[in-house]
Symmetry: C2
Subunit: 487 residues, 2 copies
């Protein structure tokens, strides 16, 4: 706000602010329209000049909307395939304009395709006219182009690109899909480490801007790496369990009773993806704990062995210590955790649940003592668990239940389930639950049910914590929370 705006009565102030706001909006729109008109005039002018005296007039332009007009017999080379072995070859590439820099008779472009990019040069000469270079320089960032170019080896490695040993010498250039000139965020800002932003005063992008413009934010190398690694988590989870003889099932999401949780935190979402395991066991629910921890260990190993590039990429923007785990997985009892916390000065009751800060503190204490970022906490107090949790057979205060933690945060909650309809009814009544509402659930145990246990893994949390990120919204493609339903 300028000084002038602050004077006058509160009402005037409000009115002034409103009209100012409206005015600003109008100005902005007019500006936008003007820019668009200018742009179009420019392109038209370029095109006209082209038609008059441009020897390269057929070598560039804006394509008509691609509506599958024809089956073109032209193969496109992927950016990741542009290596020195292709030197001398003429190739067609489709990619986005990542950056563009005009300099006299040359225009340097960086062309991006998913997590890969390559330098391309449009230079006045045999292959391109000065109008063509100008055209290239005017293409908006993030537009998608088709480029015909000769692959050339370079003397000095191009450090800013993934394809460091070659560049493309462009001889044809067509815009397939134009981006609006003003981007709501810049990709280079979106991958800048916060520290660099703070220390060097350079722009970074805040989370709401990212999420409001998620389709652009998802194009960054960091996002690309996060979601490729996440798909790895899903695949490793299923492959491990399929090998163990599990059958994948799809459960209904529409149910008559929902569980409401506080979603206004860094680690809760209104909607999340649950990787759930339920398993009949023979004599002891630790058989199930062992199966789940082994599955997690297989996931950690698979990520470590097959997703190093992704881990490194995310680490550039969000540095973190490599994820550590033990084999076999460390299992502590709740009692032991309480003792550890008390020895660190925490005051808490025997049957009190862990608060989030205490969970995190416990994570640090466990890491110090056992050097692991993954462990199981077993035998929670019965009082803090849901009604369907099997009580401990030896001590009525405790239960056959467990949580699993990564870097001090819960990623799985599980338990031996009560498989006896009568005990289940008693436990539900004890919790003051309306039996009518869970009738179908209780009835399902009336016709013989094997002893079983299980747990639900939060996919977004596993991805977040494995990578050492700090907000679960980064690992949900289109996160939903009490304040966000779109995009």
């Amino acid at each position: 706000m300028t000084k002038e705006e602050v004077k006058g009565s509160a009402e005037e102030e409000q009115q002034a602010a409103q009209s100012k706001k409206a005015l600003k909006k109008q100005q902005k729109e007019a500006e936008k329209a003007a820019k668009k008109a200018e742009k179009q005039a420019k392109l038209a002018a370029d095109q006209q000049t082209t038609e008059e005296d441009d020897f390269a007039q057929d070598r560039y332009g804006v394509c008509v909307l691609l509506q599958s007009q024809e089956k073109l017999d032209r193969s496109l080379v992927r950016v990741c395939e542009l290596t020195p072995e292709r030197a001398g070859q003429t190739v067609w590439v489709r990619a986005r304009i990542h950056t563009s820099r005009a300099k006299g008779k040359q225009c340097f472009l960086v062309l991006r395709q998913q997590q890969f990019n390559v330098q391309a040069l449009v230079a006045v000469g045999e292959r391109a006219s000065k109008q063509m270079v100008k055209f290239a320089a005017n293409i908006t960032k993030e537009s998608i182009v088709d480029v015909e170019a000769v692959v050339q080896k370079v003397e000095q490695k191009i450090e800013s690109c993934t394809q460091q040993d070659i560049e493309l010498h462009v001889q044809r250039l067509f815009v397939v899909s134009q981006a609006e000139p003003r981007l709501p965020l810049q990709l280079e800002d979106a991958v800048r480490p916060e520290v660099e932003g703070e220390e060097e005063g350079r722009a970074t992008v805040n989370q709401d801007t990212r999420l409001d413009n998620r389709v652009i934010d998802l194009r960054t190398t960091t996002s690309q790496a996060i979601f490729r690694l996440q798909s790895g988590v899903c695949q490793l989870f299923r492959d491990t369990l399929t090998k163990k003889g599990f059958v994948e099932i799809q459960t209904p999401k529409i149910i008559s009773v929902f569980r409401a949780e506080d979603s206004n935190t860094h680690r809760h979402l209104t909607e999340f993806v649950g990787l759930d395991i339920e398993m009949a066991f023979n004599y002891h629910y630790h058989e199930v704990i062992d199966s789940i921890t082994d599955t997690m260990v297989q996931i950690f190993k698979g990520l470590r062995d097959n997703f190093q590039t992704e881990i490194q990429t995310v680490g550039k923007q969000y540095p973190s210590e490599p994820f550590k785990f033990l084999e076999p997985t460390l299992r502590l009892e709740f009692k032991e955790a309480v003792a550890l916390l008390r020895s660190a000065g925490v005051e808490m009751g025997d049957e009190e649940d862990l608060s989030t800060p205490n969970e995190k503190l416990l994570g640090r204490l466990v890491k110090e003592k056992y050097d692991t970022d993954f462990y199981v906490l077993d035998k929670y107090p019965l009082a803090v668990r849901p009604f369907y949790t099997m009580p401990d057979p030896h001590n009525a205060k405790y239960s056959n239940s467990y949580d699993m933690f990564m870097r001090g945060e819960e990623i799985l909650s599980g338990a031996q389930r009560v498989h006896d309809a009568q005990l289940l009814t008693e436990r539900a009544l004890h919790h003051g639950i309306d039996l009518e509402k869970i009738k179908a659930y209780i009835d399902s145990f009336r016709y013989g049910a094997p002893p079983h246990a299980g747990g639900g893994i939060g996919l977004e949390r596993v991805t977040m914590l494995y990578l050492g990120l700090h907000n679960v919204r980064q690992t949900s493609m289109f996160p939903r929370d009490p304040k966000r339903l779109t995009p």
Copy 2:
């Protein structure tokens, strides 16, 4: 209703019916309680007799609730592993009582574990007392038992069991989880082919009874086979696409605008599992059709090659012709389909959508002419597709859209999507859609979007139609429709 109930005024009638109903309920409950008491008395009596003069008293009984009291060092052999190679071995097996038949001093049990079962014999002799045989005969069907037995080869194949060459001679028998005596449906009725039920007047189970008691219905060999095959569809779908370079993503299910469809049909559910593909293409959306049809063909081949047992099992109850497909997949244009239908006497307009009966008829005509149960119908009239469908570039009446069919029913709807914000806006306005409501969607195309196409596959439909079933509720584990929200 008996004759007596129909007389009197409407009010009286209603009252009478109500009190009759209440009475019946009371009677039923009393009956149930009496039976339970009788049962308990019987078990207690057995137990007492046992304690008095039973040499086998420690060899059988009802276990206390399994609460993970101890880590028993006893390995359980799976029913499918009970083969002649184990003859002479003493094994422990946990399984359900599938059927039980007492005959003098013997009791024959069929023990079931998932899709496998085996015959077990409890006979008065060295291994069992007459009290133990009686106890065995009284165990309710579907109860889960632990059995210690000697594996014995049999002379004559046991045709009614999957393990046909051996039987178990029981020497210990403990009930782990008791089923209530009265089952809401019998498993043997639930797998009986309808024809057999009709022709021989034997009991079958109607769909509502099945779904009301889905936890029992899911135990039949048919259900076991259906859902094992369905997990195969998911796995083949993902494996094929992962190999092609696709990345698995999780989309939000909570969105601001839902699409409402009539779910009161044999092939609609309120909730279904969608296997969705979106793919950027180079020049023509047929590249995407080819990718999807190839994926479907890989699924069909994988099912044919790896799920024959499941296909045969389902076929016993629901006979159908083996699923046929061509390579490459047959692709017809909508126009051709209209011509085919007209030649069969159907009257319909050029731009009219296919009705469900016409879809089915078309399926039969295509099967006759091309001998395939799977084909693509391409180039639907623009008027019958959603606003985001790309118009055909050569004929404004048509569109770059397609459906895929299995046995004459739609399993996928797809199209080239409009990737240009301006055209998308025009098309939305044309359809009378409130732009504010789809703002986030349209905005996502403002910053450069590649030409792309895709489609959504209905998992339950693929399973249903591949197996030649007739209701999609059979292939949804806990189906949801306008009349069903539980179990």
